[in-house]
C-alpha cells in the first residue's frame, strides 16, 4: 500500500482535530464553557458529537476483525452498543441531565450526600476510563504499524499527545465540535470505500460469503507472521513454512500441523493452499451461548455508566433535549453499524489469512487495497486510515476529558481550569503506559471488559439512585464493591491468564451475567438493612430528577 496517502490522511485528521480544538479555545471563555459547553448544545450537534465519541476503535476496526475471525456471533457487539443507548434512554437520560451533576461522582454525592460513596465512584470511573483507553491507544499503534510500518509505540504516543493538546486547550466546547466533525468523517470513511468494495465484489462474480466457520481461502496465499504467535489448532492444518515453527527451522517444506499449540516465530512465511480452512487464533469459548448473553448483559447495561457517555448528557440544555438527542444518537450509530459487518463478510472472503496472523483488526484497513487496488485502492485505504484515526482521537479525547474531570475534582488539591489542564496528561499517561506494556488483546474484547465493569457498578447505582427512594450510602457502597469489584477481578484474572479452562473461564471472561445481579442485590439488600441511613434530601433529589424543567424552574409557566 502506498504509505504516502495514508500518512497524508492521518496527518490531515490530526491537524484538523488540533485546529478545530484551537477554534474552540477562542470561543471557550468561561469555566462552564470549558466543562459542559455552557449546556447549550442542541440535539443535532450534540447527537453527532455523542456518536462521534462513542464510535471507538472497537467499532471502526474491532467488529470487522472479530467477525472475520469468529463469525456472525460477534455481530452482537454493535447490536449491544446500540441497545445500550436504548436502555440508557429508557432509565437514565432525562433524570441524569436534570440531576445537574457533571460527573458520576457528582451524581453520587448529590443523590446520597456521602463523600465516601463519592470517592468510591471516582475510583471506579477512573478505572473504567483507563480500561477503555488502553485498547484505543493500542488500536492506534496497530493502524500506524500496518499502514506505514511505524514502530508499535508511535501510534499510542501520537494519539496521547494530540488528545492532551486538544482537550487541555479547548475543553468541552471545542471537543463538541471536534467530535461532531469526526462522526461524519468516520461514517464517510467507511461508507465510500464500502460502495467501491461491493462494486469490486460484484465484478468478481459476487461469490457468496462463507457464512459457516471457519473462513476458507479462495486462492493460494502466503502469510508473513509479523509477531511471534501461538496457533491453537482444533483441526490439522497443512502449510508450507519458511522460517521457524515449533523451534525448528523450516525451508518451504510441506508440513501438517497437528491439533494443539504451535509456536510460529516472527518473520516466518506460511504458504496456504486454496480452500484451506483458516483457523482462528483466538480460542473460541466452549460456552458460546453463555458468552453471548454475557456480552448482551454487559453492553446493554454497561453503556449508561461509561464515563465519557455520561458527561455528554450535561451539555444538553434540558432533560427533554437530552432524550431527543439520545434518539438521534440511536439512529446515527445504528446507521454506522450497518457498515462494519460488510467489511467483516468481505474480509472472510478476501483476507481470511488475517485470522491466522492475529492482526484481524486490520481487515478494514487492508480490504480497499485487496479488492480495488491501484491508485483508487490507495486513496480509499487512506480515507479508511483517516477515519480510524478519527475514531481513536474522538473516543480517547472524550474519555480523557471525563477522567481528567474526575481527577481535577476529587484527587488534585483545588478546582479550576488550570488544574484541569494539569490533570489531562495524568489522565492519559497511565493508559499510555498500559498500552505500551500490556500485550495486545483484541480491541473489541478489551472494550467488552470495560463494559462489564461499568454494567456491574454504575448501572445499579444509576438505576436505583434515580428510581428507588430507599437507596442508602452503605447500600450503594456495598453494590459498587461487590458487583463492580468482582467484575473487575474476574476481568483482571482473564487478562492475566489466571482463569482455569472450561466453564470457569467463560464465567470469568464474561462476568456481567452474574456480577450485575450481585451488584443490584447487594445494593438493595444492604439498603434495606440500613433504613436509617436514607439521605434526608432523597425526596428533593427525586423531585429534581423527574420534574420537567418548565415546572422546576422558578416561576416558569407549565407548558
Amino acid at each position: 500500500m502506498s504509505q504516502t496517502y495514508a500518512v497524508v490522511a492521518v496527518t490531515a485528521v490530526v491537524l484538523a482535530t488540533v485546529l478545530v480544538g484551537g477554534f474552540g479555545l477562542r470561543i471557550s471563555r468561561t469555566t462552564s464553557d470549558f466543562y459542559v459547553a455552557s449546556r447549550t448544545v442542541g440535539p443535532g450537534l450534540n447527537a453527532a458529537a455523542i456518536s462521534g465519541e462513542y464510535l471507538s476503535a472497537a467499532s471502526f476496526l474491532g467488529i470487522a476483525g472479530l467477525v472475520l475471525v469468529q463469525g456472525p456471533d460477534m455481530l452482537w457487539y454493535p447490536v449491544g452498543y446500540t441497545a445500550g443507548y436504548l436502555v440508557l434512554l429508557l432509565f437514565v437520560a432525562a433524570p441524569l441531565r436534570r440531576s445537574g451533576a457533571y460527573t458520576l461522582p457528582d451524581f453520587a454525592e448529590a443523590r446520597l450526600e456521602s463523600p465516601g460513596v463519592r470517592r468510591l465512584v471516582s475510583v471506579f470511573v477512573v478505572g473504567a476510563g483507563w480500561l477503555y483507553l488502553v485498547p484505543q491507544l493500542q488500536g492506534a499503534g496497530l493502524t500506524l504499524k500496518i499502514l506505514t510500518g511505524a514502530p508499535d509505540w508511535l501510534g499510542p504516543v501520537l494519539v496521547a499527545a494530540v488528545v492532551v493538546v486538544a482537550v487541555a486547550a479547548g475543553g468541552m466546547r471545542s471537543i463538541t465540535f471536534v467530535q461532531a466533525f469526526q462522526y461524519w468523517l468516520k461514517l464517510t470513511a467507511l461508507l465510500v470505500p464500502v460502495l467501491f468494495l461491493v462494486l469490486a465484489w460484484r465484478g468478481d462474480g459476487a461469490p457468496r460469503p462463507v457464512y459457516d466457520e471457519p473462513a476458507a481461502l479462495r486462492h493460494q496465499q502466503t502469510v508473513r507472521v509479523a509477531d511471534t504467535l501461538t496457533l491453537r489448532l482444533t483441526d490439522p492444518l497443512s502449510v508450507r513454512a519458511t522460517g521457524t515453527v515449533d523451534g525448528r527451522p523450516r525451508h518451504g517444506e510441506a508440513l501438517t500441523l497437528v491439533p494443539g499449540e504451535h509456536r510460529v516465530e516472527a518473520g516466518t512465511r506460511l504458504a496456504l493452499d486454496a480452500a484451506t480452512r483458516v483457523p482462528g487464533t483466538a480460542a473460541r469459548t466452549e460456552h458460546p451461548l453463555y458468552a453471548t448473553y454475557g456480552l448482551i448483559v454487559a453492553t446493554f447495561l454497561g453503556t449508561m455508566g461509561l464515563p465519557h457517555v455520561v458527561v455528554r448528557f450535561y451539555t444538553s440544555p434540558g432533560g427533554r433535549e437530552a432524550r431527543r438527542a439520545t434518539v438521534v444518537v440511536l439512529a446515527l450509530i445504528g446507521a454506522f453499524y450497518l457498515l462494519p459487518p460488510v467489511y467483516g463478510a468481505l474480509g472472510r472472503l478476501y483476507a481470511p489469512e488475517l485470522a491466522l496472523t492475529g492482526d484481524a483488526d486490520a481487515a478494514v484497513l487492508l480490504l480497499p487495497e485487496r479488492l480495488v487496488g491501484g491508485a483508487g485502492g490507495d486513496l480509499l485505504g487512506a480515507l479508511v486510515a483517516g477515519g480510524a484515526f478519527a475514531a481513536f482521537l474522538s473516543t480517547a479525547s472524550g474519555l480523557t476529558m471525563a477522567v481528567a474531570g474526575v481527577l481535577t475534582q476529587d484527587v488534585l488539591p483545588s478546582r479550576g481550569i488550570r488544574h484541569f489542564r494539569l490533570a489531562t496528561p495524568i489522565a492519559i499517561s497511565v493508559p499510555l503506559l498500559g498500552a505500551l506494556l500490556v500485550s495486545q488483546v483484541p480491541v473489541a474484547d478489551a472494550v467488552g471488559m470495560a463494559f462489564a465493569v461499568s454494567a456491574s457498578s454504575f448501572c445499579p447505582l444509576l438505576v436505583l439512585g434515580i428510581w428507588w427512594r430507599g437507596l442508602t450510602p452503605p447500600g450503594a457502597a456495598a453494590g459498587l464493591l461487590l458487583g463492580g469489584g468482582s467484575a473487575l477481578l474476574a476481568v483482571a484474572a482473564t487478562v492475566l491468564g489466571l482463569a482455569p479452562p472450561g466453564l470457569a473461564h467463560a464465567l470469568l471472561a464474561w462476568p456481567a451475567v452474574w456480577s450485575v445481579p450481585v451488584g443490584f442485590l447487594a445494593m438493595i439488600g444492604v439498603s434495606l438493612a440500613t433504613p436509617g441511613r436514607v439521605p434526608a434530601g432523597t425526596n428533593a433529589a427525586m423531585t429534581r430528577f423527574h420534574l420537567p424543567e418548565a415546572l422546576a424552574r422558578a416561576g416558569g409557566a407549565p407548558r
Partner: protein, 130 residues
C-alpha cells in the same frame, strides 16, 4: 424576574440578597415545599415514567434478548447475519421513538394537572395534606 410586588417601602443599599419567590400555582408550590400532596404528584409522575421505561425494556428483552436462543434453534448462519447485521436496528429505533413520545406525553399531562388546580391564583394558604 419582573413581577415584583409593588408597594413595599424599602431602603436600597445594594444588590438584593435574595430573590423573592414568585407567586406560584397551587400544585406547583405543593411540589416545591415538599408537602405530602406534592410528594404524591411527583410519585405519580415517576410511576408513569417508570412504567414507560419498564415497558420499553421488557419489549427489548423479549425481542432482542431472545434472539440468541432463536439463532441456536434455527442454526442458520445466514439468518444470524441478516438479523444482527441489518434488521435489528429498526426495532431498536422504534422502541426509542415510542418511549420518547410516551415520556413527553406523561410530562405534558403532568404539567396540565399542575396548572389546572382549581385554586390557581388564590393565596396558597389553607388546604394542605399534612
Amino acid at each position: 424576574m419582573s413581577a415584583e410586588q409593588a408597594a413595599r417601602r424599602e431602603r436600597v443599599t445594594g444588590e438584593p440578597r435574595r430573590v423573592r419567590p414568585l407567586p406560584r400555582h397551587r400544585a406547583q408550590s405543593e411540589i416545591d415545599e415538599q408537602t405530602a400532596l406534592g410528594g404524591a404528584y411527583v410519585r405519580s409522575l415517576m410511576r408513569g415514567q417508570f412504567r414507560a421505561a419498564v415497558t420499553g425494556f421488557v419489549v427489548l428483552a423479549l425481542t432482542v434478548g431472545t434472539l440468541p436462543l432463536a439463532f441456536r434453534a434455527l442454526d442458520d448462519d445466514a439468518v444470524t447475519w441478516c438479523v444482527l447485521g441489518f434488521a435489528v436496528y429498526g426495532p431498536l429505533a422504534l422502541i426509542a421513538w415510542w418511549y420518547v413520545r410516551t415520556a413527553e406525553r406523561n410530562e405534558r399531562d403532568f404539567a396540565r394537572l399542575v396548572a389546572d388546580r382549581p385554586t390557581d391564583g388564590r393565596p396558597t394558604q389553607g388546604r394542605r395534606a399534612e
